[in-house]
């Protein structure tokens, strides 16, 4: 493990109309790690993702990624600096084909200008061709190459989730944020997802932060886990430490989800 973290979140907080949604959030993620973020419903997990990706601007604190401050950047700028994400409620481009969904994520890597595209200059064809080839290669890894030309909205649920991950990866992130990737999946699909995550992590030299409700998945693949409750970080550590942490047990008491025995 290198000494300098890839992502460093320092005392970050945000208020919505006087209400503290997240406060004093601290987190360090190193290159290559797979980290989980868990917590009961309404604990502020998705809000933290929104803070990290520029959807919300933090009221307090600093977010430093790869040596750069991210605080006031717009989401697209954060993505260009190497953080991309999936969404809890799938947000695909429904009326676009599977291939085009991925091409949109490749957008920033191509270089053909608006003028070259309008005049159909050689650089347009070169840029578009490269984008198409890369996207198709990419979809093969995700086993979606048979659906290249189907509209995203017509895919079955499991494939939509996979496409969303593929699309996020196509944006070329160093850090990938997955917001409940296993939500709504059956055990077998969840199993497949776990091996997919392991595969992409290796292949793309990725660092991953994931929010998940499925404790088997979190405990099974994450190396470290952060626990949020009521917008405050209450624990962090290895899965073993988290499992026996008194505050975590207290926070989850009364919730139905915590099958904290993997």
């Amino acid at each position: 493990m290198s000494n300098k973290p890839l992502l460093s979140v320092q005392n970050v907080g945000i208020n919505f109309g006087g209400l503290k949604a997240v406060s004093e959030f601290n987190m360090e993620i190193h290159q290559g790690e797979l980290v989980g973020l868990i917590g009961p419903n309404g604990a502020g997990k998705t809000t933290s993702f929104n803070l990290l990706t520029g959807v919300y601007t933090p009221t307090f604190g600093e977010i430093i990624f790869n040596g750069q401050k991210l605080n006031k950047l717009a989401p697209y700028q954060v993505t260009k600096r190497g953080i991309s994400r999936t969404f809890q409620n799938i947000r695909l481009f429904n009326e676009l084909s599977v291939l085009d969904n991925v091409k949109v994520a490749y957008h920033s890597l191509a270089k053909n200008s608006i003028v070259s595209s309008i005049l159909r200059l050689p650089s347009h064809f070169a840029g578009e061709k490269e984008m198409e080839e890369k996207s198709i290669e990419f979809l093969k890894i995700f086993n979606l190459h048979e659906d290249l030309y189907s509209l995203a909205k017509n895919l079955p649920y499991g494939k939509q989730r996979r496409l969303e991950i593929a699309r996020a990866l196509a944006a070329g992130p160093k850090l990938l944020l997955l917001d409940e990737p296993a939500a709504g999946m059956n055990p077998q699909e969840t199993q497949e997802l776990m091996s997919l995550i392991a595969l992409i992590r290796e292949r793309f030299d990725l660092t991953i932060l994931l929010i998940e409700h499925d404790m088997n998945l979190v405990m099974g693949i994450c190396e470290r886990i952060y626990v949020l409750d009521h917008g405050v970080l209450i624990a962090d550590g290895t899965p073993e430490e988290i499992r026996s942490h008194p505050k975590v047990i207290e926070a989850y008491l009364g919730e139905e989800v915590p099958a904290v025995h993997a």
Binding site: F16, G17, T46, N50, F87
Partner: protein, 291 residues
């Protein structure tokens, strides 16, 4: 004391805007639709008032009440026939339909009764009196008192009656209200009825004050009343009242300062400034899209 007189004129105009704006804001609050046809309900109210006085020989107040009742029914019909099916449609589809309904009413009206303007009968005494050197007409006072009375009644309905409670519940959370046993369809219809009745009243007092009415008279006051609703914070009833009055006063002063041709632009400049700098209006709260 020229400016006091202008202020009174502005308040009279503003109270007409406010009455129309209330309908916009209530409908937007409950089904998130900009009811473009609302200005045309105002026009219809004006004509019902006109025909009740000229054709049926009724007195002013009976005509006012008749116009309000007619417009309430008309508003509910529009909602039931055109908008009801759009509850689950996109906002844009609903907006386009509303524009379509508005054009249909205007052109259907012209097609049936002709495009000629009518002279609204002058049935209220044209007297005036002086306060602090300003000449205040009795009509202004009458308009103002009718508007205030109607707004007080509206406040009473919204805050003290069962239907008002249902309206607030539905505008807060449609689904939850349904689960609590509130008849959402009827509540929405009631909202249209009340909003349209207010627009009808505005139409009659508009006719009384400006004396000329025509089938396209609803377009500009309609859009301006919408501006007033946005200015006050759309969905907020006191906001619509204040927004209407503010807009009326600003317009009257722009007009009085010798920029009469720019009068209509003032409303749109205000609209754009509000949308850019304070899109939730004077009284609005900040909300954000859930991601």
């Amino acid at each position: 004391m020229e400016w006091i007189q202008q202020l009174v004129n502005g308040i009279s105009l503003g109270s007409i805007y406010a009455l129309i704006a209330l309908g916009y804001t209530m409908v937007y609050g409950i089904i998130k639709l900009i009811n473009f046809a609302h200005g045309d309900v105002f026009m219809v109210g004006s004509f019902v008032g006109f025909y009740s006085i000229v054709g049926l020989g009724l007195d002013f107040f009976t005509a006012l009440v008749l116009a309000m009742i007619f417009c309430a029914i008309f508003g509910v019909l529009i909602e039931r026939i055109a908008y009801k099916r759009l509850r689950n449609a996109t906002r844009i589809a609903a907006l386009i339909t509303a524009i379509g309904v508005s054009l249909l009413i205007e052109n259907g009206f012209i097609f049936t009764w002709g495009p000629q303007p009518k002279a609204f009968p002058d049935i209220i005494a044209n007297g005036s009196f002086e306060i602090l050197g300003a000449k205040i007409s009795i009509k202004s006072i009458l308009i103002l008192s009718i508007s205030i009375t109607l707004m007080v009644i509206l406040q009473f309905i919204v805050h003290k009656t069962k239907i008002g409670k249902a309206m607030r519940a539905v505008s807060h959370d449609n689904e939850a209200a349904r689960l609590m046993g509130i008849n959402v369809d009827n509540t929405i219809s009631a909202t249209f009825a009340i909003g349209s009745a207010l627009a009808g009243a505005a139409g009659v007092i508009f006719g009384l004050y400006y004396t000329k009415i025509d089938p396209l008279m609803g377009i500009i006051p309609g859009i301006k009343a919408f501006v007033a609703a946005v200015l006050g914070g759309i969905g907020i009833i006191p906001g619509a009242m204040v927004g209407g009055l503010v807009l009326g006063v600003i317009e009257t002063f722009v007009n009085a300062s010798g920029f009469s041709l720019w009068r209509d632009a003032a409303a749109f400049v205000i609209l754009i400034l509000i949308l850019i700098f304070r899109p939730n209006g004077i009284f609005g709260k900040n909300t954000r899209e859930k991601v």
